[in-house]
């Protein structure tokens, strides 16, 4: 913890809202949520981190496909998720595992999704967690559409999308945020600005001073927040959600965080950046920060920590067993769910695949 106290200020964080300092000192007593929320935020982050660490190991063991890790960035997703209500919609990026966990996707489903197994795509639609969006920024216009539907129905529900800093350069980002603004739709757009789009730093994405400043051009508030401070993230998302539910339209949130890990299990960040940069951000670890605060209030102990860790290890083990038992992929999976009823030629193609598979 003491190392964090000597962290040099990072210019990326200039002007962002923080509730806790990197070493866990309380900066904004007025913005601290209740004890129950504090514990949910902490355990949510801890569980996500254990999963992420383990998923990287599983990938190395050949038990998962390419895996987009998020360790060190979990505060953004966990804080935002906990500010929502049941029935709100979330549209994650491929790096949205923590968000998916918070919104009720099971660990077995997440493992199967990263194995490329159809069962991982079979998520209860009532959860309103949409599939990990692999194409960049396509989810942003969808968010406007979903939010418009909820507005029209007067449900008080909203849609929240995540996007990376690189994704904000895509046309669909502009298009979708602009549509949501123009329709005054109940939407929240969270930019997870983790500094790097694979090897491209944010400074190459844009000449803008920061990404939240774009909000003015879309006619909505743009909020900059310390994305490694889960209390700050929870607070700004809650405010944005209340604004959306009051009918005041969308909010653009730029959460400043850092991808201390590779882009995915296939990437080697040493090719393009200094590890000293990542080291400084390791000192801003969101879990350590909240834990220090909770300990200072006597709300957390090593024993509780071990309980969460052990519980999570057991959950992952059980999820792996469940994932391993998923039915093998049949030829049908290739041609199923493309149309409500397969087209005539698809039935012929399925017969061809079956015949070819039978020869193997």
């Amino acid at each position: 913890m003491t190392a964090a106290l000597t962290l040099p200020p990072d210019p990326r964080l200039e002007g962002t809202l923080s509730v806790l300092s990197p070493s866990g000192e309380l900066l904004r007593p007025d913005l601290v949520p209740g004890d129950e929320i504090l514990l949910k935020l902490y355990t949510g982050m801890r569980r996500a981190r254990v999963f992420d660490d383990r998923a990287m190991v599983l990938q190395r063991q050949g038990k998962l496909g390419v895996y987009p890790c998020f360790g060190g960035m979990e505060a953004t997703q966990v804080g935002a998720a906990l500010a929502l209500q049941d029935g709100d919609w979330v549209l994650p990026t491929y790096r949205g595992t923590a968000l998916a966990m918070m919104r009720g996707m099971t660990l077995a489903q997440i493992l199967l999704a990263w194995r490329g197994h159809p069962a991982g795509y079979q998520v209860d639609p009532k959860l309103h967690i949409l599939p990990f969006y692999i194409p960049i920024a396509n989810q942003i216009p969808h968010t406007a559409g979903i939010a418009l539907a909820e507005k029209r129905r007067g449900t008080g529900l909203l849609a929240m999308a995540f996007i990376g800093d690189g994704g904000t350069s895509e046309g669909d980002f502009h298009v979708g945020v602009n549509f949501a603004g123009a329709f005054c739709a109940p939407a929240i757009f969270v930019i997870e600005n983790n500094g790097w789009a694979i090897s491209t730093p944010t400074s190459v994405q844009t000449a803008a001073k920061n990404l939240a400043s774009r909000a003015e051009g879309y006619g909505m508030p743009g909020i900059r927040v310390d994305g490694n401070d889960v209390l700050a993230m929870y607070h700004v998302t809650l405010e944005a959600a209340e604004r959306a539910r009051r009918g005041e339209g969308p909010t653009l949130i730029e959460a400043i965080t850092y991808r201390i890990l590779p882009h995915t299990s296939s990437d080697d960040p040493k090719r393009y950046r200094q590890e000293t940069e990542a080291d400084a951000w390791r000192g801003r670890d969101p879990g350590m920060r909240l834990r220090a605060y909770l300990e200072s209030r006597g709300m957390w102990s090593e024993e509780q920590e071990q309980d969460v860790m052990k519980g999570m290890e057991a959950e992952i083990k059980a999820a792996m067993l469940e994932a391993d038992q998923a039915a093998p992929i049949e030829p049908e999976a290739l041609l199923e769910h493309i149309y409500a009823e397969p087209l005539a030629e698809m039935k012929d193609q399925l017969a061809e695949i079956r015949a070819l598979e039978a020869l193997k």
Binding site: V123, D124, P135, G145, I146, A182, I338, Y339
Partner: protein, 338 residues
């Protein structure tokens, strides 16, 4: 109104309409029948540039019939979001030639969403787009991008050629559980008239129509080319040649059964479309006929299409690009004289 009562009413009231009026009438019926139906796009609230949505905002309000900001990708993405959330969006692209910014949404999202969610979020949505040439429109306004869209698994493509079909197919598209692209020939909007029931009725997707019977040669066509092919067939009949004109109506799903029956009967095939020849939908048709029906063919398949060039930005050159009855007639002669 019950379905049976609706049918009766539909049969009782029939009006002569242009194709664009039939489209307008279909939209009215769709909006009337289902509160979830929404209609939007560029200028759609004011009736759209071809007046296909005339008066609908007055009837159904700005919540259900509205203008969007100008962005084809946004209009497609908005429709996806509305569809996911359980609404029934009908999105209009002002011209099919403006589809290119939306291709990512079509390929990466609209075609894949059902499978990506293992059937949990099917997208029941309709995209309407005026397509094709023949009215001396500016650059990009006369394109026929049906082949580009047909290359995307997961979407359906319907292209009517009569007012009756336009209304019945559009209402079937609205009811369809899959995303349907509905291309409306700009040339036919006001050049054809026909009897159209004013109530609700549907024409099933995936059933071709024999526009004219004949046993000497099969001409496969759709949309704006159907009247051109019929004209060529009339000319051929005067010379004693009986041409069968098959209006495909939808290219996905494709009614290969009807095509097959016709080809088996005539043994000669001419395929006609406005899009460029290379990788146009005629390439798919030709390949399938060659794969499955080669032993019935008495002549090589001939394609009468746009050239492998952009649809000419020079309106004075349009007549050289867009197939006309004379070119179709030449195609018919070619397969007969082989």
């Amino acid at each position: 109104m019950t379905v049976a009562a609706e049918r009766q009413a539909a049969q009782e009231q029939v009006k002569t309409m242009t194709m664009v009026a039939a489209v307008n009438d279909a939209l009215r019926v769709a909006l009337e029948r289902d509160d979830k139906v929404m209609l939007f796009g560029e200028d759609v609230g004011m009736g759209g540039v071809f007046r296909a949505s005339d008066n609908l905002q007055n009837l159904f309000g700005e919540e259900r019939v509205f203008n969007t900001p100008l962005s084809e990708a946004g209009i497609m993405g908005l429709a996806v979001g509305l569809g996911i959330a359980g609404e029934k969006p009908i999105a209009e692209l002002q011209f099919a030639g403006f589809i290119y910014p939306a291709l990512e949404q079509i390929n990466a999202q609209i075609g894949r969403y059902r499978q990506r969610t293992q059937g949990n979020f099917p997208l029941s949505m309709v995209v309407r787009a005026p397509y094709g040439g023949g009215i001396h429109s500016p650059e990009m306004h006369a394109d026929s991008p049906e082949g580009l869209v047909a290359a995307v698994p997961g979407v359906k493509i319907v292209i009517p050629s009569t007012p009756y079909d336009a209304k019945g197919l559009l209402l079937a598209a609205v009811d369809d559980p899959d995303p349907v692209f509905f291309f409306e020939s700009i040339k036919l909007y006001r050049s054809v008239k026909g009897e159209v029931p004013t109530g609700h009725y549907t024409v099933p997707l995936g059933k071709a129509r024999i526009a004219r019977e004949g046993d000497d040669c099969t001409v496969l066509c759709y949309g704006g080319m159907v009247e051109v092919c019929e004209e060529a067939a009339v000319a051929a009949a005067a010379a004693g040649v009986n041409v069968e004109v098959v209006d495909l109506r939808s290219i996905v799903p494709l009614d290969f059964e009807t095509i097959s029956e016709s080809v088996k009967k005539t043994g000669r095939v001419v395929i006609v479309h406005e899009a460029a020849r290379r990788m146009g939908f005629g390439a798919e048709l030709s390949a399938r006929i060659a794969e499955e029906l080669i032993e019935y063919l008495h002549a090589p398949i001939t394609r009468v299409t746009g050239w492998d060039a952009p649809y000419p930005p020079f309106t004075a050159a349009e007549h050289m690009y867009r197939p006309d009855a004379a070119r179709v007639a030449a195609g018919i002669r070619k397969v007969l004289d082989y």
